[in-house]
């Protein structure tokens, strides 16, 4: 179990939990980031923050501080996904 903010670029895993009380997590849920969803840290911005994260066939930028509450299960068995990044 690792917070998304500590993932390395290229690492992926399943979203184990988030905090639905937070505004940022509500936004992400609207974009389809729900528990059980596979997500991948594509890269960090040149200054280390924000992060570019791929899930649900889209790439979204979010700040390190906003990624702390997203707990990722990197050991989960993730089916190899067809590269759906547009």
């Amino acid at each position: 179990m690792t917070p998304l903010s500590q993932l390395l670029p290229g690492q992926f895993g399943k979203l184990a939990s988030l905090n639905p009380e937070r505004g940022v997590d509500q936004r992400l849920m609207a974009l389809g980031l729900l528990p059980g969803m596979v997500l991948k840290l594509i890269r960090k911005a040149p200054l280390g923050d924000p992060l570019a994260v791929e899930f649900c066939g889209q790439v979204v930028s979010l700040r390190l501080a906003e990624a702390e509450n997203l707990i990722i299960d990197v050991s989960a068995d993730c089916p190899i996904q067809r590269p759906r990044q547009p």
């Binding site: 509500q26 849920m29 649900c56």
Partner: protein, 717 residues
């Protein structure tokens, strides 16, 4: 005669980056009107859409959004518009829902929320060409059936494909009035929603729609409750018990809505989309380059510098043409009016000057919006924000503040208009507030005059360039702490999380870019333009009246030996001295005395309210070197170098001491002597409150810093 007046209103709704605006332009064929929603700075774009069968409807393009759980003013407008809660606007008769065909699941979440409003709906799957390239096959008939029979249409708005089918689908939706199939809520959530609706209805006496009940139960913000007049004391208990019921059934009440929608949408989409062989797009590959750790920032700087240089240099030519055109018109109109000097001056300096005063901004606005259109529609703007965000986030701004702040170094007017690209209202307001601190090109003539007349001759060209560069940084030095304090302590607006989609790269469509550029320019002329014109006329009148002919006669009698030109310059100086502006300047000179300004500089400061650079020509008049003096005028430099205090403790010492020269430049670096900026700030923040606040803050700050500079330097030299 259009039947749209009679009243069929259709709303265009969709996620950002779905090609919604392109579809809107294609459907309305640019027969559009742009206005503002009452009370918020969200523009309302609508146009007439022909349904192909002779029927015409009014189509309104609502701001792009991802969810009806409103957090920003843009999103609130969509909810209010769809539920008919906007003053002067009807509830739409139908909805055209635009979704990205390459990502149906995420896009249909919003559609599914909109379905809860029960309106007839057409589902447009846009960017079908890209979906096809990616190898996605979509069974529109199956999707239509699963969604309750709403028309489902594949389009590529960019290529103009599928547009007649959208018109036909809309006609069908309006005649058959088929709503989209709604989500089936689990029993306990349905019960909680019913409970909320009942309690709210009992307390407010209003009918509560299903959509209202969902917003009340699922949202943390209170916008819906406030609109219904459901007070905190009354709603607290029923909402808490309803949320408790949802929680006991196994759902977090804050997560229940997306969980239920997404779970059911997966079932709806099962078998609708089949993935065949296709090309993966190039976006990921381009991002590896443009967002590269080292190359990314280098390319970013290159793109931005090129962009800035274009706004700065390209705009110079049309700006010169406008100036030439205004001067030429003056040359044609003014001579026949010479028997009436007052009328002549009103037309030449007041009216033509006023028209020129806002026309001159148009080239920069058009060029800036051309570039912004290209950056946004191509998808690079989001990347620019991604690269720059870290530099701005600590002081409460975000990566999207960069473009407005950079273009502020050319001119604050187009930059203020470009703050619209910032979604977060708090960051938008803070950015708009600090943009006027950027050292715009209108400050340049003042720095140039002062450096060339005083710094260069006294200290050499090295110091001259150093001071020029330093002056361009003064504003930035004060802007950053201002943003910090403003966002932390003053602005009570809730900050938005900076969640930003990095969309697929795409070729911008020239028609959309040009059209947006034109709309921004037109709005500027009609709103800020009229204010700028009025300011110019008022300042002209204050500097012109009263004008007693005896003044001219006295000057001529006092200087019988001088040339006609010299006498003319003296007369002009005398007229300005005894005009209302001159009298006012003399009266408040004591306020500027601690800064080392004499009454002539004070009048120059006041008269430059329509535009900062006017101080140079005003100094030309008050120092009797004649009208039209520019920063490189040798006469003006000499007159200023020779100017001495005639009375008071400083009598006999030069007015333009090093201390006064630095103080004057610092004052102009920080002050708000720019009527157009204030007018545009008012236009963009939706009222005069922020504009007035900016004026008071900047003027006070300029006075304090300038006074400190003068008092320190005068003691050291």
């Amino acid at each position: 005669m259009s039947s749209s007046d009679a009243g069929v209103l259709v709303a265009l709704v969709g996620n950002p980056n779905t090609g919604k605006s392109t579809l809107f332009n294609a459907l309305t064929g640019l027969r559009q009107r742009v206005g503002n929603y009452p009370g918020v700075t969200v523009s309302r774009k609508s146009g007439t859409c022909d349904l192909g069968d002779g029927q015409k409807v009014e189509l309104v393009d609502l701001p792009g959004l991802y969810s009806l759980a409103a957090a920003s003013p843009d999103e609130q407008v969509v909810i209010d518009a769809l539920s008919g809660n906007i003053a002067g606007d009807r509830r739409p008769d139908a909805v055209v829902m635009v979704v990205d065909a390459t990502n149906l699941l995420r896009n249909l979440f919003l559609a599914s929320q909109v379905a809860e409003l029960g309106l007839p709906l057409v589902l447009v799957l846009n960017q079908a060409d890209v979906a096809q390239e990616q190898g996605l096959r979509i069974d529109t008939e199956l999707l239509s059936r699963r969604l309750g029979g709403v028309p489902v249409i594949l389009t590529s708005a960019w290529k103009g494909e599928g547009i007649p089918e959208v018109r036909g689908g809309l006609a069908e939706a309006l005649s058959r009035r088929t709503p989209m199939k709604r989500v089936t809520w689990p029993v306990d959530i349905a019960g909680a929603l019913a409970g909320v609706a009942q309690a709210a209805s009992a307390d407010t006496g209003k009918a509560i729609s299903a959509a209202d009940a969902q917003r009340l139960l699922f949202d943390t913000n209170a916008a819906t409750a406030e609109r219904l007049g459901w007070t905190l004391e009354r709603r607290e208990k029923p909402l808490r018990s309803a949320r408790e019921r949802v929680r006991n059934s196994g759902y977090n009440p804050m997560a229940a809505e997306p969980l239920v929608h997404y779970a059911q949408l997966r079932v709806v989409l099962d078998g609708v989309v089949t993935e065949g062989l296709g090309k993966a797009g190039r976006t990921a590959a381009v991002d590896r380059l443009l967002l590269h750790r080292l190359l990314g920032p280098v390319l970013f700087l290159g793109i931005m510098l090129g962009f800035f240089a274009s706004v700065f240099w390209l705009a110079k030519f049309p700006m010169d043409w406008i100036q030439l055109g205004v001067d030429w018109t003056k040359g044609v109109v003014a001579p026949p009016l010479s028997p009436y000097p007052m009328l002549q001056s009103l037309v030449a300096d007041g009216i033509l000057g006023g028209v020129g005063a806002f026309l001159v901004f148009l080239p920069q606005i058009l060029i800036l919006f051309l570039f912004i259109g290209i950056l946004e529609d191509s998808g690079y703007m989001a990347r620019a924000a991604f690269i720059m965000d870290r530099l701005f986030s600590w002081c409460g701004l975000n990566g999207k503040s960069f473009v407005p702040m950079l273009s502020g170094f050319a001119c604050a007017i187009p930059s203020l208009l470009s703050t619209r690209t910032i979604e977060d209202p708090k960051a938008r307001l803070a950015t708009a507030f600090v943009v006027p601190f950027m050292s715009c090109s209108a400050r340049f003539p003042i720095y140039a005059l002062m450096c060339a007349a005083f710094i260069g001759p006294l200290y050499g060209p090295g110091w001259e360039s150093l001071v020029m560069v330093g002056m361009h940084c003064v504003g930035l030095v004060f802007a950053v702490p201002t943003a910090f304090v403003l966002t932390r302590l003053v602005l009570k607006v809730k900050p938005q999380p900076f969640v930003l989609e990095l969309p697929r790269y795409q070729m911008p469509k020239p028609r959309d870019v040009v059209w947006r550029m034109w709309q921004n320019a037109a709005e500027f002329v009609s709103k800020a333009g009229t204010v700028i014109f009025a300011i110019t006329i008022i300042v002209w009148a204050l500097s012109y009246f009263p004008r007693d002919a005896s003044v001219a006669e006295r000057i001529r009698a006092e200087h019988p030996t001088e040339s006609a030109e010299q006498v003319k310059a003296r007369v002009q100086a005398a007229y300005v001295e005894q005009s209302y502006m001159g009298r006012f300047g003399k009266a408040i000179q004591p306020v500027f005395d601690p800064l080392g300004f004499d009454w002539k500089i004070t009048v120059g400061v006041l008269a430059s309210f329509p535009a900062r650079e006017v101080i140079v020509s005003t100094l030309g008049v008050t120092y009797s070197v004649g009208e039209g003096a520019e920063a490189d005028s040798q006469d003006l430099r000499k007159a200023m170098q020779d100017a001495k205090w005639s009375e008071g403790p400083r009598a006999g010492t030069p007015i333009f001491s090093l201390a006064a020269v630095l103080a004057l430049m610092v004052f102009f670096a920080l002050c708000s002597q720019c009527g157009p900026t204030i007018a545009t700030l008012a236009q963009e923040t939706g009222g005069w409150r922020w504009a007035a606040g900016s004026f008071v803050y900047m003027t006070t700050l300029a006075w304090i810093v300038s006074m400190a500079v003068y008092q320190v330097v005068i003691r050291l030299t």
